[in-house]
């Protein structure tokens, strides 16, 4: 029985694991996942090439960041899951301290206080760290408890997720706050959280929506939601982004205007073309085909990621890897939905495509962890 169960979940790698000759297994690398990630990164760099509009320095900087991200990916994959398990509470606590520091000493950019800066050295967003730390903490909490989690444990997990989410929401950075919460929630879902509970929670949130609208959301956040339903109400203000991004995507058609031919981005109609709205550049220049290809690769990454997670040798590894994959998906969905005008504008970059370093490195670290839990069997 046990044997049968074990065999049913056997993967081809298991036999491979017994053959140390497989170099990538020894290196704790999954070639398929790395290959898919590389496809997205290269594809993203092609589109970014257009979006930077001749700014070579920016482009070089981004390539350097990816170089670092690959190193992070490989290093993260070498670290045994056991170590992740052990450092999880520590990472979470450090993350929380950093978030508190941000609240008091953070650097403001465009009206939100999200950054910590060590002058002359570097500057980073602790909330990015929480995207990893929260699912780690939740997985750490659940791994020693029997699953599916009881109501009490579920409540504890919600506490672990909610604290940092609130702190990040205060910055204010609603997008990241939701993502961090979502990352933790993915762990709960994968751990077997009762669907009934999820349903009730959903209904409760819907019922509380007017209250959230009134007391939780800030004026500009409400405006963003309103703009979603009627962008033309303020075409030069809040509606501008959505109008211009949907125009860019829509004008691309099936095959797009051609690489480097996007008038919306070249003529500066498209805001944030390099960062959050880069998928609009892709849609304009490469068309439906271009976006469909991207979404397909994302889907393959998610599929591969979940499969790798399912092959993990421990509950902690499974939950953590699975949660990373789902978080990755949430990034993709929220970004593309936002740019195409079906979700309000929240600051979420397109994974592995948008210009920027923190997000790319965090994500690659996450994928490193996924490969680690898959390839480190004996612990």
């Amino acid at each position: 029985m046990i044997q049968a169960d074990f065999q049913r979940t056997l993967s081809p790698y298991d036999s491979a694991a017994t053959k140390p000759s497989r170099w990538y297994f020894r290196l704790h690398i999954d070639p398929i996942l790395v290959g898919l990630l590389t496809v997205v990164i290269v594809y993203g760099l092609v589109v970014l090439r257009s979006a930077v509009d001749g700014n070579e320095a920016l482009y070089t900087a981004q390539i350097q960041r990816y170089a670092i991200a690959y190193v992070v990916l490989i290093v993260a994959a070498q670290i045994p899951p056991n170590l992740y398990l052990r450092i999880s509470p520590l990472v979470y606590v450090v993350g929380m301290i950093l978030l508190l520091l941000v609240l008091f000493f953070g650097v403001s950019v465009k009206g939100s206080q999200r950054w910590l800066e060590i002058p002359g050295l570097f500057r980073f967003q602790p909330s990015e760290l929480m995207k990893l730390a929260v699912p780690m903490a939740v997985a750490w909490y659940l791994q020693k408890r029997s699953l599916p989690p009881s109501l009490k444990y579920t409540a504890a997990c919600l506490g672990i997720m909610t604290l940092p989410a609130l702190l990040i929401g205060r910055q204010p950075d609603l997008g990241t706050s939701i993502l961090v919460f979502g990352a933790g929630f993915s762990v709960l879902l994968l751990a077997g959280l009762s669907w009934r509970l999820v349903l009730w929670a959903g209904l409760a949130i819907s019922a509380a929506a007017p209250l959230i609208w009134q007391f939780v959301l800030e004026g500009y956040q409400r405006q963003r939601v309103l703009t979603l339903f009627d962008p033309q109400s303020d075409p030069l203000g809040a509606g501008w982004n959505i109008i211009q991004s949907t125009t860019a995507i829509g004008s691309g058609g099936l095959f797009g205007k051609g690489l480097f031919q996007g008038s919306q981005s070249y003529l500066d109609f498209l805001p944030e073309a390099r960062t959050d709205f880069i998928v609009a550049v892709m849609g304009e220049e490469l068309g439906f085909v271009g976006i469909a290809f991207l979404l397909l690769i994302y889907l393959l990454i998610i599929a591969r990621g979940l499969w790798l997670a399912s092959q993990a040798g421990s509950t902690f590894g499974r939950l953590l890897a699975g949660a990373f994959v789902l978080t990755f998906f949430v990034y993709v969905f929220v970004n593309v939905a936002m740019v195409s005008g079906i979700l309000p504008v929240v600051g979420v970059p397109l994974p592995l495509v948008s210009y920027g370093g923190t997000s790319a490195i965090t994500l690659m670290a996450g994928f490193g962890v996924i490969m680690s839990v898959r390839t480190h069997k004996a612990w």
């Binding site: 125009t247 829509g250 008038s263 919306q264 500066d268 469909a292 979404l295 998610i302 969905f333 195409s340």
Partner: protein, 641 residues
């Protein structure tokens, strides 16, 4: 116990995880499907909508103003050209906070308050918020540089280079050439709005106004790609505007300048015609204004002084100033007397300094009358009456000609109507007759009215342009030419295009060729008859006739502005500036083959011979000198060949 539990849990948890992962993966596929659906909606089903929205974003169709036709004088010198000017234009739609931006532009360029209010006024009356609107006309290089540096702070601003009208001779030719003004809403109702959609200026006065259609040209179009801030990135398609046609005028800027110089700051007008075709060689009205102000904008102070000055510099005295012609009317009365058999060249009268109608008390005086010396001019025939300008002779003659006959005859000289071909809203003067008087004043025509008309006074009014036509008609011995400004459109700069122009000829049939020659001889005497002792010289001889090396015919006139009561003497000192007499002189030269005929008026200037005649002489001298040097040059060319 713990290990067993753990293993059991482990397997169950794997199953649980796989189940959950599968469910969530299905959810992932569904949600990605939603995104794909959204993309299909945007990119395939509504592609056309977004495509055109994107094109609307980037493509701006601009109309291009045609370059205005140039205006040349008869010697090919530019009277009106177009110069490059850098102007500040705004695209209001692209400005996030227009009023704030205007404020910023104002302080950046250090605009004066007048310029700022002008800028705001233009923005407020703007017709198209999506098209560039010029708000500051002529930017200095420094202002252009400042704009360039601060461009990123001022979305929606553009420095545009455009052609603006420029009048190199400024005041000198102002009234002749006219000027352009900024196109107003009122103008737009009159003109084709499509043709004028990019045009900023429209001809408002003079030649610029009359030949607006010729000078304007055809509008052009430009399809251009512009960015989110409204700046032009690249031109996609251009349909060039067709430039307006150039105009070649009869005007001679040297004569024009000579007229201005000769008037020497006095108020007045000089109109010189080519008697052969009516071409206007000079049209001076002083004081004048600088037409460039209407293009580049002027301060309120300048405009205020122009529009409210009691000397009315914006008023074209040459074409619209209406004055009693005074004695310059006498040749017409004399010829009428001959033609209507009211007198002959041999008939003489005794001029004792005053004339009385039979049975009336009132004395009509000669110009030479004074309290002390009321002797008059003695025995005068028509010739002497002209060169001595005897009032009494013409009082008598006019009183004996039926008024309607006199008026009809005078009308053939173009009096009482606007004879001009291409001068907008030129005055038509006033040639009174009994019907007019009954209508206007409710009074019958008295014999005294005819007497006054005999010396060009009473209700009779003529513009300097009309009197120039009279001079030309005398020069032509009865052939009337209509005054015209334009010599040709896009004609070669040199060459005698005159002959090809049709000129209207109106014969004065009652007067024979011999009579014309006799009148011309009398007019010649006005200038050249000298050294004849007391009351023997032509009235103008002392002033202009003594050192002249060509033959000129002329007639002076001194028109009263206010009536001098019976028994009073005209005393310049006691009269206010605007009550003093107007000085007239009409003339043509050379007598035998006239190439110039002119009228000079000096407002409140005093005596015609003493004040106006020297002005006429100066202008004709300038003309004769040019004709002479031209002749010499032609002979030299012949010799060389």
């Amino acid at each position: 116990m713990a290990p067993e539990l753990s293993i059991k849990d482990q397997n169950r948890e794997v199953e649980l995880f796989v189940g959950r992962a599968t469910t969530l993966f299905v959810l992932v596929v569904l949600m990605l499907g939603l995104l794909v659906y959204r993309m299909l909606e945007l990119q395939l089903w509504n592609h056309d909508t977004y495509k055109s929205r994107s094109d609307d974003n980037r493509i701006r169709v601009q109309t291009l103003a045609p370059p205005r036709g140039l205006i040349f004088d008869r010697n090919g010198r530019l009277l009106a050209d177009n110069q490059n000017a850098s102007s500040l234009a705004l695209v209001i739609d692209k400005m996030p906070e227009p009023s704030e931006s205007l404020e910023r532009v104002g302080s950046l360029l250090e605009l004066t308050n007048t310029q700022r209010s002008e800028m705001i006024a233009r923005v407020e009356s703007n017709r198209r918020p999506d098209a560039p609107l010029v708000v500051v006309d002529s930017l200095t290089e420094e202002q252009v540089a400042r704009l360039a540096v601060n461009r990123h702070l001022l979305p929606g601003t553009e420095v545009v280079n455009r052609l603006v009208r420029h009048y190199p001779y400024a005041e000198i030719a102002a009234h002749a050439v006219g000027s352009v003004r900024r196109l107003s809403d009122e103008d737009l109702r009159r003109v084709d709005p499509v043709q004028y959609s990019a045009t900023e200026f429209i001809g408002k006065r003079g030649v610029e106004a009359f030949y607006e259609d010729t000078l304007h040209g055809q509008v052009g179009y430009q399809k251009a790609e512009s960015d989110a801030l409204g700046r032009l990135r690249q031109t996609l398609d251009v349909q060039s505007p067709t430039a307006g046609k150039d105009l070649y005028l009869h005007l001679d800027i040297d004569l024009q300048r000579a007229g201005v110089t000769a008037l020497a700051g006095r108020r007045g007008a000089v109109v010189a015609l080519d008697p052969r075709n009516g071409g206007v060689l000079a049209m001076v009205s002083q004081p004048a204004y600088d037409p460039n102000f209407f293009v580049t904008g002027m301060s309120e102070a300048v405009f205020g002084s122009l529009s409210t000055s009691k000397y009315v510099p914006l008023f074209n005295r040459a074409t619209n100033g209406q004055y009693a012609p005074g004695s310059t009317f006498k040749p017409i009365v004399g010829l009428a007397g001959i033609g209507l058999n009211a007198t002959t060249w041999d008939t003489v009268i005794e001029d004792r300094g005053a004339f009385q109608l039979p049975g009336q008390e009132r004395e009509y005086r000669d110009w030479s009358w004074t309290k002390d010396n009321s002797g008059g001019q003695g025995t005068v025939d028509l010739r002497r009456a002209i060169y001595r300008s005897s009032n009494v002779y013409f009082y008598d003659l006019a009183s004996r000609i039926p008024v309607q006959d006199l008026v009809d005859f005078a009308a053939q000289f173009g009096l009482g109507r606007d004879m001009s071909v291409d001068i907008p809203s030129a005055g038509s003067g006033l040639l009174p007759d009994p019907v007019w008087k009954q209508g206007a004043k409710g009074l019958p025509w008295f014999p005294g009215d005819s007497v006054n008309m005999g010396i060009g006074q009473g209700d009779l009014l003529a513009t300097p342009l009309q009197m120039a036509v009279v001079a030309a008609t005398l020069a032509n011995r009865g052939r009337l030419v209509q005054p015209r400004m334009m010599r040709g459109i896009d004609a070669p700069k040199s060459g005698d295009g005159e002959s090809s122009l049709p000129s209207t000829q109106i014969a004065l049939e009652q007067v024979s060729t011999q009579d014309w020659e006799s009148m011309v001889a009398a007019l010649e005497d006005v200038v050249h008859r000298g050294n004849q002792g007391f009351r023997g010289n032509g009235t103008a001889w002392a002033y202009i006739g003594q050192d002249i090396d060509y033959r000129m015919a002329g007639k002076s006139g001194t028109a009263q502005v206010v009536e001098i009561s019976q028994g009073e003497e005209y005393d310049e000192e006691t009269l206010s500036e605007f009550d003093r007499k107007h000085a007239w002189f009409i003339a043509f030269a050379p007598v035998e083959n006239p190439t110039i005929a002119l009228a000079v008026l000096v407002e409140n200037g005093g005596g015609g011979s003493s004040v106006a005649a020297p002005v006429a002489r100066a202008v004709i001298d300038a003309h004769m000198q040019k004709a002479e040097s031209k002749k010499v040059a032609q002979q030299e060319m012949l010799v060389q060949r």
